[in-house]
């Protein structure tokens, strides 16, 4: 399934939802399951010292007990998503809210945050008054919005709302732009299930996550339905 993971960060830069699809998943206790490389003998190819072995995620030193929090335990979810068997299988293998506070989540957000700062600082609209300048410095969804970044192995799509909600999805590198999908998730899944739901907060504390089954199922079904049309 060309979708590897999906994340939501709130305006306090905390990860309020993380969904990981895939086999070589990082199991909640934090150590990385070595995914045996399928192709024979992937040669060591890091001539440049600045890369250490890139065949798998670094074992995150800081343990992730705190990632399985009271309300959002990292549990494997059996969801009745689309009938497509392969997507089904990867959904069942993935985890929910298992990586919210671990190294990956922090690195990912840090990367996006720095790229977003560059996008905002390199293109600033001309402003006359001091107030306009001030309005532009807090550049939430500013004049130049970050949309995605890509490496040879994956592509990370990013959408930020004007009130500071950040939606992130990591997919196969050849995937088309998924800005519209992230907006669709904000409007037709997050809004009804969380904002219009009086039992769900919109202002999250440090450890609070979204773990409603209905929300997780809707997200799974959405990504599963997109599976074929991604590239």
């Amino acid at each position: 399934m060309p979708i590897y993971s999906f994340w939501i960060y709130d305006r306090h830069c905390n990860c309020i939802f993380s969904r990981e699809y895939g086999t070589g998943s990082q199991d909640p206790s934090g150590n990385v399951l070595k995914s045996t490389p399928k192709s024979k003998g992937s040669a060591q190819f890091a001539p440049n010292p600045s890369y250490e072995n890139t065949s798998s995620l670094p074992t995150s030193s800081q343990s992730t007990q705190n990632s399985s929090i009271s309300s959002g335990r990292g549990q494997r979810l059996l969801s009745s998503a689309s009938n497509n068997h392969k997507a089904q299988e990867l959904i069942q293998k993935g985890t929910v809210n298992a990586q919210n506070n671990n190294n990956t989540s922090k690195l990912l957000f840090g990367t996006l945050f720095s790229l977003r700062k560059i996008a905002g600082s390199v293109c600033t609209p001309q402003t006359e008054t001091h107030q306009e300048e001030e309005f532009n410095t807090s550049n939430l969804n500013s004049f130049n919005a970050l949309q995605s970044f890509r490496t040879l192995n994956y592509k990370c799509h990013y959408y930020e709302t004007m009130n500071g909600l950040r939606f992130v999805v990591v997919t196969h590198p050849a995937a088309r732009s998924l800005q519209s999908s992230l907006i669709e998730i904000y409007h037709s899944i997050y809004l009804p299930t969380v904002v219009r739901n009086p039992l769900m907060p919109v202002n999250y504390r440090e450890d609070e996550v979204i773990s409603n089954d209905r929300f997780v199922r809707a997200i799974d079904e959405y990504w599963a339905s997109l599976e074929e049309t991604l590239t």
Partner: protein, 211 residues
Amino acid sequence: MPEEFFSKEVSAMALEYLVNECVALSVRVEELLASDSVPGTLAGDVAGLKLEQDKPGTVDFASNPKFLGLNNLYRVERYGYEIGYKITDCIIYKKSVQEGVNIQLLEVLEVMKFICRDVWRMFYLKQMDNLRTNHIGTFVLVDNNFRPLINVSSAQGDADTIRKIQPYLQLPCGLIRGILASLGISAVVKADVIENRLPAVSFNVQTSLAK
């Protein structure tokens, strides 16, 4: 200005958020009345945020023991009652003057139909799905897709959701009771989720045929 009556409209979303929020408000009032602290003054613009942990946008009120307390349920029901008591005449006036439909409200069954059709369409933009009676004063009104509960779900699973929506069901109960009272019929209204098939709700109305 009869023709103008009921012509003005607002967003249904505005009404829905207002109704949802009045449950949290009721818990806050309970909390304040219990703690009989010095009444809030409009100091600065963040007045009344006395409950430190009850920050805007959080749902701490739902974990407050008073949330499911009887006082809270009663107050929310009372909101509904007051609306129901006053709205009956307005609807009947609108029906008869503007739409030339005069509604016969002599019999209790007719009143129930009036609630299922006119009141529910006005409040929840759809009619009730089913009305049953045992002809000795008990009625069961069923709404298979009760609008305010469509999006409600608790993070701790369905059982917890059903437990926590009780206060939200009190307002429509009060509404029905208020309408009946305005027509001289005293009744007891109870609402519950149909075999936890959220958002299907059935309202059980016991009228004592006081009239």
